[in-house]
Amino acid sequence: MENKVNRIDLWILIPVLVLITFSIGVVFSASSSWSVKMSGDSTYLFKNHLIRAVLGICMVFLFSRIDFHNTITVRKLLMLAAVGMLLYLLIFNVETTKGVSRWIRIAGMSFQPADFVKFALVINLAYMLSKKKDYISSLYYAYLPMVSYVMIVVVLIAIQPNFSTATTIFATSMILFYVGKVKIKHIVFTMVSIIPAAILFVLSKPYILNRIFSFQEHTSGGDAGYQLSQAIIGFGNGALIGVGPGNSNQREFFLPQSYDDFIFSIVGEEYGFIGVTLVLLMFGIFIYRGMQLAKTMEDNYGKYLAFGITTVIGMNAIINMLVATGTIPTTGVTLPFLSYGGTSIIFNSIAVGILLNISTHRNQPKGEMWTEKFAEDD
């Protein structure tokens, strides 16, 4: 059997490196005033971010050298860990930000399990789609096992409550099912049946309604509406060429989460339309190459995994940018690679490492052998 190993796809690597490097400068500027307020040291948040950015780049290279099929072996472990963390949050965690329990602290680093859970789920779904491809239209043997994985995760996240992440994970799964040739009837049925549940859920959580209404009023009251109008002022103030690196005014306590969910606005303010176009271009190249890789993969597990990873990262980026520009209501989604976002940069980097490893297998005609080798009976 030919086992030619290709070089990694530089067109996936380069945009990621550009974005992470860029994030070091932007986060420094965006976080300095907040850092002073928190600890008196203007580099407090920046130092944390720098460590994680460097660690992230290491992860990209490390995981690009580990055969991605290894994820098959640990897939159940990952899923168990994911569900365990979500349950732990629900039962034990009392540390909350804004009344929402989303964070776990491990070894001094707080992290959102959701950042990890979404990749654990994608690995499992990609595996099942490739394993069950011969009887994929079967409701009992293929669809129900897969959709039950999805629903466990989505429900556990939704009741944190983290409605927006739950929605993105649900949407990612449905897209993955569609690409994996699950019966469209099943997908439609799932979506239709979940809508009433979602509406009920939204009605029970006033903060979500508040966000949606404040989005409609756009610049009016409320935390979220204020934040959004500040984000847009930031973009507008930057105009074509921006106010220059480190010159943001919005970060001076005008734009909350300026280093975090709304960092894109700081990019827009400091680097202008030129800067945001560059960021969009980087994500565009990344998404295009990631999906193109999925298209050309013969190995089905690699195909679905590549597609899943690209979709998770791409969707996060797009949602974040649509939120920051006021196109859709505010959700708490970070901008991959650019945001301060704590450990999310590390999980995203690991995922990119895996994606890069998949790209080294892109010309291997048949993936069954590999899949069989790592697969055990379900």
Partner: protein, 719 residues
Amino acid sequence: MTELKRNNNTANTGRRISFFIIVFLLLLTVVLGKLFSIQIINSYKYQLAAKKQYESKISLKPTRGLILDRKLNALISNVNSFSFAADPNMVDNKDSVAELFSRVFQKDKSYYLDKLNTNNTSFVWLERRVESTYEQQLQNLNLSGVIKLNESHRTYNYNELGTQVIGSTDIDNNGISGIEMECNDMLEGKEGYVVMQKDGLGRKRPAIEYPRLEPQNGNNVVLTLDMNVQKVVEEELKQGVTINDAEGGKCVVMSVKTGEVLGMNSVINNIEKGDVRPDLYKLAFLTDLYEPGSTFKVVSAAASLEEGLENKNDVIQTYGGEYQLYDNVSIKDSHKSSNMSFQQVIEQSSNIGMIQVAQKLGKERFYKYARDFGFGISTGIDLPGEMRGYLKKPVDFSAVSLGFMAIGYELMVTAIQMANAYSCIANDGLLMKPYVIKKEMAPDGTVIKEHHPTPIRNVVSKTTAKTLTELFVGAVEKGTGTEAKIENMKIAGKTGTSQKLIEGEYSKRSYTSSFIGYFPADDPQIVIAVIIDAPRSGEYYGGRVAAPIFRKIAERIIAITGVMDITHPEYDENNADIKLANNKLIENPDKDKINIIDFEISDAIRLLKENNIDYEIDGAKKNAIVTDQQIVYGDNSSIKKIKLSTKSITEQGNERLKQNAPVYMPEVKGMSVRKCIKMLSMMGIEYKINGFGRVTDQEPEAGAKLTKNQQVVINCISN
């Protein structure tokens, strides 16, 4: 069949992925489009919104630095007052705030309530510039949403003393002339701010406390000026202009060895109003150009001595007092003689003789020395708006140019250039760069920057300088400048009388009369240049008009400050006493008119003590100035006692503050267009500018009172 199906399958999956590629890229395009709309099409709107909300960042004004004389007397300082403002959206209890303010300021409660109920604003003034007593009454009250601001204003501590050099500031405390402008960066300090947080509706955001950055106060600027010298200059110049009914006058006093300016002023005689006053915004000694006449003979004289062409005893043909320079150009001397020694040419200020000297020198050498003395180029003094004057190049000389230039015509100079050229001779031929900024000091007194004397070049040798000084002593002792003579002090100097060029012709009625001299001639310390513009009371010779003014200034400087004191700038009270004992106030016909009004009290006391005059003080004894004096005479009409009234400096300032200052046209001639625009816009003056480069002409002239919205016209040429 299976193969076909598989291909079909793969192709199908590929198409589905392609679909999502397109969806994702489309969504990115949506973001791009949205950003294009925000950042390119509507950016102005958001920039405006941004600006508006940053303005809720209320700046805290730093205290502007002081301007002090060389002995560290503050010539200008700040009067502090307090202002109260409020953000209507943030005042929790408007009623109680209004109640309190109406009680303290004795105004109607509704007056404040109206202000506090203003909509669509985040800033209203409640009270502006109130005295500190009010501030104390409101100090300990917790008025949420009410902001207390420190507002300070400039006040001249000694009336108009030194105002031309000090300059002025606009309503926002930006320097717009003189030192205030030149040193604006040093003086202004760094603004601090209070950020008032609001949401999109301008409502209070409780989550974030007000961030506050304290302002950094400005640095102090120490000048080379000596307050007392300056006072003498101002008084005597004013009096001289009045006595001679002149159009104006300029005077510069410099320290010979260092190039430090000790005092300088210019006045204009406002005929309509009938008063002689300093032209507040005009540094005429730097900006006004005039033809110097005989005082310019220093160039040819120094050059021919240096080049070895003449000795002081060489005989020079003077043609019996009338000399045909060119076809129908003849030069006359008032002192008629067929020939003179070189020494006499200087002493009697013979034009014909000096033309002979210059012709022997030749135009190239003449030009070189004139240039070396600093004519036709700026001296580099650290004040804004200096003019370079005008010195023709040899190639542009006409047949009569050399002759005319040798006696100070066909060229333009400033008073500071003339003073500096004589200072060069007094300083053994070494030309110094004149300066007025001595040091920059932090508010706590640490010296940040100190300016040291800067030599420019050796123009002539020490021997030449000594010889020339000897000749200038002769001019004072037995020549044209006898009225500058002072007992017990050897003065070197030169008179100058030039006809003014009026409508293209040299006037027989309008003259510029000047005298430039220095002393002590054996070891010169101080140079004084006095230039009187168009005296109309009959006398017009420099020796008759300017020399007496020079004498009075010199006498008073010697008496009050002491010559030696100036050479040791760091004032030391103990040493000063000893030195001054040898420099007693010389018998002065004006002695019973001893005038110490406007003196800083400590200087006044020192002066009176030195002259053994008793005194009595009514008012503050420290940080005060003398506002009035009453002389009590004893036997033989000698002064027995002086009663002084004083006023503390801050009181004086407050009084002035209450007057609403009108806007006067500043002097902008000679400035670059950029600086001119900056200055005019800072003062809020509307302007129209023709051309570019350097400002050559302005309408109206400096000092004119401007009506509201009056547009001024500025003409420029590029150079």
